[in-house]
């Protein structure tokens, strides 16, 4: 054993010495030269001593020594790393070859850079959204607790404060449960530091939020239960981004107080840069500040307002947590004051891994994206293989010569693989830069409603992935020509393997197969992109129930607080005055067509208040029916949104003391009064009788693609709105009126925050942004694939024309016309393309079926897409073949014949 250990130590020592020797070639060589020179001098001297004449003495010395270069080489190999030397030779030779063919090198590196760059970028997206854990401590323990998907929007996905307390005390699977207030909209915080109030977005969280997620503030402290006490002095945690942007990264900010929403609010801490609430919980929305949710103050009785996020105890499985939650749901009450509401949540409390909630629905899209980009890489490799093969054919003689001079087959293949690796390496570096740019750009696309996108960056995993695909690509496109060369017959190649010889034809067959593959892959990509594009167009055509064009919204600040107002009638009256004034003033601005107010805009937040039922029927009859989404609006809102209405709109006369009136959506009207006009009918709820004065179109409230639940509209003068968004319909592009509308608002209320003027179209755009994102990427890849395929076709046909120059020349000399020559080349092209398209079309129909669930209003076998793609591919192939065909038809027979 000691023997063995010694040997190991010895061989380590040898390896170390060899590496050292490898890096000190020059001094070692000089040393050896001197030593050998001395050796020869000793020998010469001895020979002379023995009586030889000097000439003969030197000759004998050299003979006895053996070959000097061989001895040196042997010593070098013994002391250094011979394989590294060979690699160095290969590299030097490769660089020399590539420099000699700059055209080929540039094209190859560019193709690879595009393929690899796209792959790194998409890998980073997939890694961020799907593979990497959420940016929280032990994030696999975190669960999102919500009912199965339903039609009543956020109200059905949230719980009351009583339910929260009961859930917490009646479950044992969770270390703790937290949540946040789900109904706060954008720009709900106004910061005043002298001058114009500055809008910001804050979110209320339960005090233990950061403890449960495992986030420590970068500065200061997190919330305590005391901060959330009713009547506690207001405190706020700043996000890193807002702290930098708004407070110039003030290092002493903790403890300072600012006027936020009219109250002196103390900053207790700054969150770490890695925490981005919006990125995880409300994609596409930027959250600036976090405030503690006062659970025991006014929100107590506001109904379902909190989302649940739980942290499982170590070792507790999801199934156990589900059973536990189910048991708790049976006894949870909506409001403890109303025992009848206990059990309302039965079956509606289901934990799912938080990660699934955040990005689970994107899995399929991401996999499709990943496959698409993988196909791009494949096409790029096939294309390069083709280029390399063309080169290999041209270099056949060179390699045959090298073999004849003693290079082994392995050595030749190694040389080719080295070339591929060098190209792939260069492509990867360039691709990495490309990916860096793409990823940077994507991370700043705040408008794309994809979770975690803002945390996108290139990390170690992405770099590893780069190396992996580079090696994969190099092997793939280097191996084909490598094997071909190694398998080639030495003598065959050494004989003139010029035009018309068997070798050339064999190469061409391989290249044709490669081109057919490329066209087929491009076809699949194009069909996929085409289907996604059609789906996207279909989504844009969806009747939203409102007209997003030429309308914009702005958040309006108002104060309707009347001290001592018990019934709410006084503040309702005050609101009427304020809103009527605003609407009249803004409505008089030239270019404004219609104005109205609403508390929640479509495609954003929403809420439900339970189900009013037709007069004379009971709530029990409709136990399983979800309540409609509730919107509190001013007169004119329906018209300003461009929603169709039958019956009448609200008027300012629908006041707090008059008959309670509502507008309902068509879906609700059909449900309660099928085949009857609902206008004039009466609904009842806890508050009394509601007269239906109008029926409006169903509005896509939650998202553009799914049909939604019902909507019910209450007038702002009879129900309390949760804030107010002024909607303006204009005859001019809405943004051109931004300053005059803001001016008017500020004139009426100097405290009006400088909030954003948002075109309604932007809301729709935001809602469809994930679909657009995926569609655009797949389309970009498809175009790239098409270009590469065209390049491939061009390469093969062009090469074949060059190879047949002599043959064409002879035929033309014998009387073939230009037209005939041209037609023949084009036929050859189309034959290749047709085969590729046929294979691709068959494969595409399979792939289309796989992505069927991502399509919208489009069948996987959509004829328009398939016909379009086939036509496009054929046209591109024709173009790619036309250029060499034209060249063929211009061959001068005399020149062609003379040239050989």
């Amino acid at each position: 054993m000691t023997e063995k250990a010694k040997t190991t130590a010895g061989s380590w020592r040898t390896i170390g010495n060899r590496i050292w020797a490898f890096f000190h070639k020059d001094p070692l060589d000089l040393d050896l030269d001197a030593e050998m020179a001395a050796h020869l001098e000793f020998a010469v001297e001895e020979n002379i001593r023995n009586g030889m004449p000097e000439e003969e003495a030197r000759r004998q010395a050299l003979i006895r020594f053996g070959g000097i270069p061989q001895a040196k080489e042997l010593q070098r190999q013994t002391r250094g790393l011979p394989w590294m030397d060979v690699l160095g030779q290969d590299l030097r030779y490769t660089l020399r070859t590539l420099r000699r063919e700059p055209g080929f090198t540039v094209v190859a590196v560019l193709i690879l850079a595009l393929g690899i760059g796209a792959n790194i970028a998409v890998f980073s997206v997939v890694n961020t959204l799907l593979l990497r854990p959420l940016p929280f401590t032990n994030s696999e323990q975190l669960v999102w607790i919500a009912p199965p998907p339903s039609k009543c929007g956020l109200s059905c996905a949230t719980y009351s404060t009583d339910a929260y307390d009961q859930f917490r005390t009646n479950t044992r699977s969770f270390q703790d449960v937290t949540g946040y207030f789900a109904f706060s909209g954008a720009d709900n915080l106004s910061l005043t530091r002298g001058g114009q109030p500055i809008p910001a977005t804050s979110i209320d969280v339960i005090a233990n939020f950061f403890q449960v997620l495992g986030i420590r503030p970068a500065m200061g402290r997190a919330f305590t239960a005391d901060d959330a006490r009713d009547g506690a002095p207001p405190v706020v945690l700043l996000t890193d981004a807002w702290w930098r942007r708004q407070f110039a990264a003030d290092p002493a900010i903790v403890g300072k107080a600012f006027d936020m929403n009219g109250r002196q609010t103390t900053v207790i801490g700054v969150l770490p840069a890695s925490f981005d609430f919006g990125a995880v919980f409300s994609p596409g929305v930027k959250i600036d500040a976090i405030t503690p949710l006062d659970m025991y103050g006014p929100p107590r009785d506001e109904g379902n307002i909190i989302t649940f996020i739980g942290r499982l105890k170590p070792g507790v499985t999801l199934a156990q947590a589900r059973d536990d939650s189910k048991a708790a749901s049976n006894i949870m009450c909506w409001n403890l004051k109303y025992p009848k509401t206990c059990g309302d949540y039965k079956g509606f409390v289901v934990p799912v891994p938080l990660k699934d909630y955040v990005s689970g629905s994107l899995r399929r899209s991401l996999v499709v994206l990943w496959s698409a980009v993988g196909m791009i890489l494949l096409i790029a490799c096939v294309n390069l293989s083709n280029l390399m093969l063309a080169r290999a054919a041209a270099r056949g003689k060179e390699f045959a010569m090298r073999s004849a001079l003693g290079a082994s087959r392995g050595r030749v293949v190694r040389q080719l693989l080295t070339e591929s690796l060098v190209l792939a390496g260069a492509g990867s570096v360039l691709g990495l830069f490309l990916a860096l740019i793409i990823v940077r750009w994507l991370a700043h696309q705040g408008a794309i409603a994809l979770p975690l996108l803002s945390t996108l960056h290139i990390d170690g995993a992405a770099l590893g992935w780069t190396a992996l695909i580079a090696v994969f690509a190099a092997t793939l496109f280097g191996l084909a020509p490598g094997l071909k060369m190694a398998g080639g017959n030495l003598q065959e190649a050494l004989k003139d393997s010029g035009p018309g010889s068997g070798q050339g034809r064999k190469h061409e067959r391989t290249r044709s197969v490669l081109v057919v593959t490329e066209v087929a892959l491009a076809c699949i990509l194009l069909v996929g992109a085409g289907l996604l594009l059609r789906s996207f167009l279909k989504v844009l055509e969806v009747d939203l129930g409102f007209q997003p064009d030429r309308a914009a919204a702005v958040k309006v600040d108002y104060d309707d607080n009347v001290p001592g107002d018990k019934t709410g009638e006084l503040s309702a009256e005050r609101r009427r005055v304020i809103f009527q004034q605003i609407l009249a003033r803004v409505g008089s601005i030239p270019g404004v067509e219609a104005t109205g107010m609403v508390d929640y805009l479509p495609l954003g937040h929403n809420r439900a208040w339970g189900l009013p039922v037709p007069k004379g029927r009971t709530r029990e009859e409709f136990k399983d029916v979800s309540g409609p989404l509730v919107y509190v609006v001013s007169p004119g809102y329906i018209r300003a949104m461009g929603t169709r209405l039958s019956g009448r709109d609200f008027t300012w006369d629908d006041g707090p003391k008059s008959q309670l009136v509502v507008l309902i959506s068509q879906g609700m009207s059909h449900f309660f009064w099928p085949n009857e006009n609902a206008v004039g009918k009466t609904l009842t709820n806890g508050r009394g009788e509601l007269l239906v004065v109008g029926v409006v179109d169903d509005v896509r409230e939650e998202n553009v693609e799914d049909s939604t639940g019902w909507q019910i509209y209450y007038p702002m003068t009879q129900a309390g709105p949760n804030g107010a968004e002024l909607v303006v319909r204009t005859t001019l592009p809405p943004t051109s009126l931004a300053s005059s509308v803001m001016g008017a608002l500020r004139e009426l209320n100097p405290k009006q925050t400088a909030t954003e003027f948002r075109p309604i179209k932007a809301l729709v755009s935001h809602a469809v942004s994930p679909r657009r994102f995926f569609m655009m990427l797949v389309a970009a890849f498809a175009v790239l694939g098409l270009l590469l395929a065209a390049l491939g076709i061009y390469g093969v046909i062009s090469y074949s024309v060059t190879r047949k120059t002599q043959e064409i020349g002879i035929r033309m000399a014998l009387g073939a016309t230009r037209g005939k020559v041209q037609a023949e080349v084009i036929t050859q092209t189309l034959r290749l393309a047709a085969t590729g398209i046929a294979v691709g079309a068959v494969a595409s129909s399979g792939v289309a079926a796989l992505i069927a669930s991502l399509l919208f209003g489009t069948r996987p076998a959509d004829p328009a897409t398939f016909v379009g793609v086939v036509t496009l591919l054929a046209a591109v192939a024709l173009l790619a073949g036309y250029l060499p065909a034209r060249r063929a038809s211009r061959i001068n027979p005399m020149v062609a014949l003379r040239n050989n």
């Binding site: 001197a34 053996g66 001895a71």
Partner: protein
């Protein structure tokens, strides 16, 4: 290392170099080569140049050491000397060779007796 013939020959030269240095003390490359030729009664036909591969190998293993010095006739030369671990290795290798040549001797003697035990 492997058991191929080449290795055996290489090993042989290494062993000869070690033995020479052990017996003669510090020597330069030419001296070692000449000494081996003489000791073998000129039966080993040595390409003297190949000794340098052997020397660098032994040096890298730490069995011999080298330093530049001046010869008797005032010529600069690189002198080699055997190290302590070189001596140990020499003992091991010598024993190995002794056994091998004993076995070979017995094997070859067998033919003259007409074989069999």
């Amino acid at each position: 290392m492997g058991e191929s013939k080449l290795d055996l020959l290489q090993g042989t030269l290494d062993l000869m170099v070690l033995q020479t240095l052990a017996a003669m003390g510090e020597m330069h490359g030419y001296g070692i080569a000449r000494r081996i030729e003489q000791a073998s009664g000129d039966e080993v036909l040595l390409n003297q140049g190949t000794i340098y591969a052997s020397l660098v190998r032994l040096q890298q293993r730490g069995w011999i050491a080298a330093k530049w010095g001046t010869s008797d006739n005032n010529r600069k030369a690189k002198f080699y000397s055997i190290s302590r671990s070189g001596r140990k290795q020499l003992a091991l290798d010598a024993a190995h060779w002794q056994r091998l040549s004993d076995v070979m001797g017995r094997m070859l003697a067998m033919g003259q007796d007409g074989g069999g035990r």
